[in-house]
């Protein structure tokens, strides 16, 4: 994929994919980044990932704090309130209708808000909060700290491992998300990168099928179709940051996978 994104379109058409192309070019990248779509897509994806991850972790740790607070008598009912949504849901269509009713449609919030809260991560974070020594929290309280101060000054700094893991998974989720962009964006002028890739691919496939069905008789403006190497370039742009960051953060990834596998 990386190689073909650097291969000139003509070579690709004649030779197909190969590991060692005859010629290299950065044409596809220049083309992809000059086109406003890909550039906007990149900006949208970056904005959504950063904003979404920050809000998500902040909101979920707030909920996790309430669930781990021994002074709060209703923490178990509240836990069930979150937990029940993991067991039963209204289904896709009522969810879609609700999103539209709430105005989560054709705007940037539609890409962020629906995946802000994940009960699973709330419970993972709560379990970590529960494992903190209660004496530390109590002494902060005696020194006159409010709950907000305890959370931001004591609990959160002590919980960086679990917060980093959660943030990483949430961020990857936002970065890779194709679902919200497919279903909740219709007329918006922007698309996140994964949705762009899907759209480009589907339109090319539809054209291929049309050509297959009608033979070579029909004429299609080929300049409108992004070339194969541009598609690959878009994919490389999308996947690049994950591949580059992966070696540095992979222990958090593995930790997250283990957390995800055992009982919460």
């Amino acid at each position: 994929m990386v190689v073909s994104s650097f291969t000139p379109q003509k070579v690709l058409q004649v030779d197909g994919y190969s590991l060692w192309p005859r010629a290299l070019t950065t044409e596809a990248y220049v083309w992809a980044l000059r086109g406003t779509q890909v550039l906007t897509g990149y900006q949208v994806t970056i904005a959504v990932t950063f904003l979404g991850t920050f809000l998500s972790v902040a909101i979920m740790s707030g909920a996790a704090y309430a669930l781990s607070n021994k002074r709060f008598k209703f923490r178990n009912p509240l836990g069930f309130y979150f937990y029940f949504t993991m067991l039963f849901g209204g289904g896709l269509i009522p969810w879609y209708i609700t999103c539209r009713m709430l105005g989560l449609y054709d705007n940037i919030w539609a890409l962020i808000v629906p995946s802000l809260v994940n009960p699973w991560w709330i419970f993972v974070i709560r379990n970590y909060f529960n494992s903190l020594p209660i004496e530390v929290l109590e002494s902060a309280r005696i020194d006159g700290a409010s709950d907000l101060q305890i959370l931001t000054r004591v609990v959160l700094p002590l919980s960086t491992p679990v917060l980093a893991t959660a943030a990483l998974f949430v961020a990857v989720g936002y970065w890779n998300d194709w679902w919200l962009g497919t279903i909740l964006l219709d007329f918006a002028p922007f698309r996140p990168l994964p949705v762009l890739i899907l759209r480009i691919m589907n339109s090319t496939r539809a054209i291929n099928e049309a050509m297959l069905a009608k033979g070579a008789g029909i004429t299609i403006d080929m300049s409108q179709i992004p070339t194969l190497s541009v598609r690959m370039a878009t994919a490389v742009i999308t996947i690049g940051p994950i591949i580059l960051l992966y070696p540095f953060v992979q222990r958090y990834f593995i930790k997250g996978l283990t957390l995800g596998a055992i009982k919460g």
């Binding site: 289904g91 269509i93 809260v117 679902w179 899907l198 297959l212 992979q250």
Partner: protein, 391 residues
């Protein structure tokens, strides 16, 4: 009774609180008891058999300390007893900041998870966008439409069939990979292998579908090119329903083997190495040790994970199927699952009634399955003296 003294620490205390100094034995260092440590005092007194020796030489019975410590700890409870309701209200008021911290999550979950549950009503309505959840009530008409349409059988069959394939392949490859990785002695090599295997798990399905088309595209796909070079007529994969279950299974294996093996690896790491050493001394080969020690010890985990996976058998992997297949009607015969059908209905607003009915059917069947499998896991693991159930 103990003599009240001024508290000597510099913590500010509300008016009306008393401080007392005590030791458990005469001559020992005294401890300043205040609001905060009232709890500790109580705990200490409960452990003490004898009375407390106060600094001024007096003795104090446990009962007396109780009467002292409780008012110190929670002054509000002195006096008349409150009703449970008032207690609850009091607790909520006391913890209002905690609730405010949790409020964003509470509201979001309510809006995006609980409101849609009420939206289930649309399964019994003739849905119109203008009237939303309160459209005209039509009773079971949507379900009659569903039962008479040929689509239900296909959707349920595909969803269950594909999931069965995924569960089987996932278990076999996850366990196999865990067994192989467990035999690797070189730590660095093992870590690198693991990391590389995890990587696909974090790739977007959009990218994966692009890669799939790079392989299977009729004109430029690697497979087509290869078969042309070998002199065969290439297969038009995107029009051939029969190949897709295989493609999906391969994709799932590629993506999930790494992450699927991680729990099995954790179990294998906890096996006592003496077992392997003893077997080796008795002349067991590496293969025999894998088959006769590792595998049997993995069986409980395998059963557990399979049961939990079966619980979710009505929920298809629409991330993979929708992105890879999209709206390609030529291969619906083997690839159309409940979710993809519903997504199409949302996008085209045709067959809305039927898909709403399909959605509710899936929710209910799914709920029963999740609950049922969890119940079985609970019973089964409790008999083994453990509890692996999710709830």
């Amino acid at each position: 009774m103990a003599e009240e003294e001024p508290c000597d620490s510099n913590i500010e205390r509300p008016a009306g609180h008393r401080c007392v100094k005590y030791t458990s034995k005469p001559g020992q260092e005294s401890v300043d008891t205040s609001i905060a440590s009232g709890v500790h005092l109580l705990q200490k007194v409960r452990k003490l058999a004898g009375p407390l020796h106060l600094q001024n030489g007096e003795m104090m019975k446990a009962k007396e300390v109780h009467s002292l410590a409780i008012p110190l700890q929670i002054p509000r409870q002195v006096g008349r007893k409150r009703s449970a309701f008032a207690e609850g209200l009091r607790n909520i008021l006391d913890n209002r900041l905690v609730i405010i911290l949790a409020l964003p999550a509470i509201l979001l979950v309510f809006a995006l998870a609980y409101i849609p549950m009420f939206g289930i009503a649309v399964a019994f309505e003739d849905y119109k966008a203008a009237t939303g959840f309160l459209s005209q009530w039509v009773g079971l008409r949507n379900f009659e439409l569903l039962l008479t349409s040929p689509v239900l059988g296909r959707l349920v069959r595909n969803t269950i069939f594909l999931n069965t394939l995924f569960i089987t392949a996932g278990t076999v490859f996850g366990v196999g990979m865990a067994l192989l990785l467990n035999e690797i002695g070189n730590r660095i090599f093992r870590r690198v292998t693991q990391s590389i295997m995890f990587l696909p798990f974090f790739m977007s399905w959009a990218i994966v579908s692009l890669l799939v088309s790079a392989f299977l595209d009729y004109y430029s796909g690697v497979v087509s090119m290869a078969s042309r070079n070998l002199g065969f007529e290439p297969i038009s994969f995107y029009e051939e329903p029969a190949v897709w279950p295989f493609v999906f299974v391969i994709l799932r294996i590629w993506r999930d083997t790494g992450s699927g093996s991680i729990l099995y690896l954790a179990v294998l790491a906890s096996i006592d190495p003496q077992l392997y050493e003893a077997a080796a001394i008795d002349g067991a080969s590496r293969l025999q040790r894998m088959r006769l020690i590792s595998l049997p010890l993995l069986v409980p985990t395998i059963i557990l994970l399979t049961l939990l996976a079966i619980g979710r058998i009505f929920y298809g992997d629409f991330g993979m199927i929708y992105t890879v297949i999209s709206n390609n009607a030529a291969v619906y015969e083997t690839t159309d699952i409940i979710e993809t059908y519903i997504i199409r209905a949302i996008q085209s607003t045709t067959n809305f009634g039927i898909s709403i009915a399909v959605g509710l059917t899936q929710s209910v069947l799914g709920f029963i399955c999740v609950f049922g499998s969890n119940w079985i896991v609970k019973k089964w693991s409790q008999r083994r003296g453990e509890d692996y159930s999710l709830f």
